[in-house]
Symmetry: C2
Subunit: 337 residues, 2 copies
Amino acid sequence: MTRMVAPAPQDSGEDRLIAKFFRPLARGPGAFDLTDDAAILAPPPGHDVVLKTDAIVGGVHFFPDDPPDAIGRKALRVNLSDLAAKGARPAGFLLTLALPDGIGDDWLCGFAGGLDRDVTLYDCPLLGGDTVKSPERVMVSIAAFGLVPQGTMVRRNGARPGDQVFVTGTIGDAALGLKLRRDPDAAARHGLDPRAREHLLSRYLVPEPRGALAEILRQHASAAMDVSDGLAGDLAKLCRASGASAELDAEKVPRSDAARIMLAAEPALIETMLTGGDDYEIVCTVPPARVAAFLSAAGRTSVLVTAIGRIVAGDEPPRFTHQGRSLAFVKPSFSHF
Amino acid sequence: MTRMVAPAPQDSGEDRLIAKFFRPLARGPGAFDLTDDAAILAPPPGHDVVLKTDAIVGGVHFFPDDPPDAIGRKALRVNLSDLAAKGARPAGFLLTLALPDGIGDDWLCGFAGGLDRDVTLYDCPLLGGDTVKSPERVMVSIAAFGLVPQGTMVRRNGARPGDQVFVTGTIGDAALGLKLRRDPDAAARHGLDPRAREHLLSRYLVPEPRGALAEILRQHASAAMDVSDGLAGDLAKLCRASGASAELDAEKVPRSDAARIMLAAEPALIETMLTGGDDYEIVCTVPPARVAAFLSAAGRTSVLVTAIGRIVAGDEPPRFTHQGRSLAFVKPSFSHF
């Protein structure tokens, strides 16, 4: 097994790769400059470490010809999105990078450069990793670590009837962006101008973790999770964990201008938007008594939050109404298997 | 991205898979029974979390037709081997499992069953994970977490001239086992009986992490690392990190009876044994004043430790002598790239 460890002149190509591209990302004392076999995380007293791992696979979660810096950023950000939803501040990550033979320095330089920018942006250093051979395709698995004051991780299971349901940002952009990648003529067919098209494509390419909301969720939310497999399915998971149901107004679900244009041209896309996944927004529930404080605190960040419905008693999946009618989804959530 | 989260009846195949095979491994309160998006590790006051990730890839680190329980155990144990070498007690792990479509319940049942036994054996619960599609081959990436009293992780860089060099167990068995897998006639050619052959094959298939030595290393070793890429190359890394060199007696490097038989038949196999990798033993250095206490403590465990040489001043790679002559290796260490 090959550790992600910095090299010396007589070292292998693998060691060279690590020193050249990844050592600069290993900031912070616990990484030991990638010169040891393992790293250290020393949580401040009274804190829990929040642990999360998510992997992305070439041809499955991203297109093999995506810019390598976007692949690096996506790999980290899908994890940071979960940390934010759980109320945690990023503390570092481990990287497993599986690479085919054909990957050269240009690709690696782009990949590590994208990661490097996000290491700075999110103050989340690389702590260690492993590079392995993967004959057919790139695979990136990241384990990310966050910190929360002891016992304050925001769970899925705290939603109660009467709580309001909020989502961050806009929903459906990434799923529509993926549709445009798969069907390049769709942009013209749906009347998208280049800027709107670019917006949707970029939302699929690189998510925006909502770290600015982490502490606010810890203070005010009864439950939260990130929206990665589709709002309908993810909210169903939150409701199930909480032993409750929800009533949502699909028209209140926040949409970007670009998504509005596509939806106007093809109303059936509402299902794609609500179930398609890759949003990396946060869905959370807030008890009535905390809604004002939550909105006030969120209003001081750059993250848009929108009320889309409320938690109700019951054990059926959340119900989305749209123009007075209940929406039924063919497939409420993304699944690989 | 799909979280490793327990399911309900209306859930996807992926959720079913996780509940059926992996939920039983998620012992301990921090895993939340795999019902949330992230897990918690709450280190006891005054402890550091030791972080390690290693991945194994089908057709690269294991044979696709290896028994699935052995693949599961190997994936975890290669990480536990590092934790042991760093002096850490296992505390849990995250699992990323990338699976081709053809993988069925039988394989998963074996894989999870192997992991389950090791979760118990090493008291190292599954805390969370991610399952993704990997069109061509199985890939398993594990991030393992250990605990050490603050500031006591055993580093690579503490070896000093005069320290004795020790290794655990026997060296070279796994590399010879791999040779037998690749060249099935080799066993007969080298005069191995079925038991000796089985010993070497099993040493390649499933490593034995030396957790029993973790605390002893923290108390007595000046430096340690696990031997996974070949003793010669790994010891060179330890020496380099410590700013020192080493003189080793190749004849003192502990060998199993099976390895002795193969070596007698083909003396050139000494290079395979010292550079081949997959040993998952520990190489460590102990200052002269602590050697007696180290040997006494190690003697109370079931792990064999053997002195093979000493650290000397200098910056050249460690020198192995064999029957009075210096050994030169074609390729001192395994590397993927």
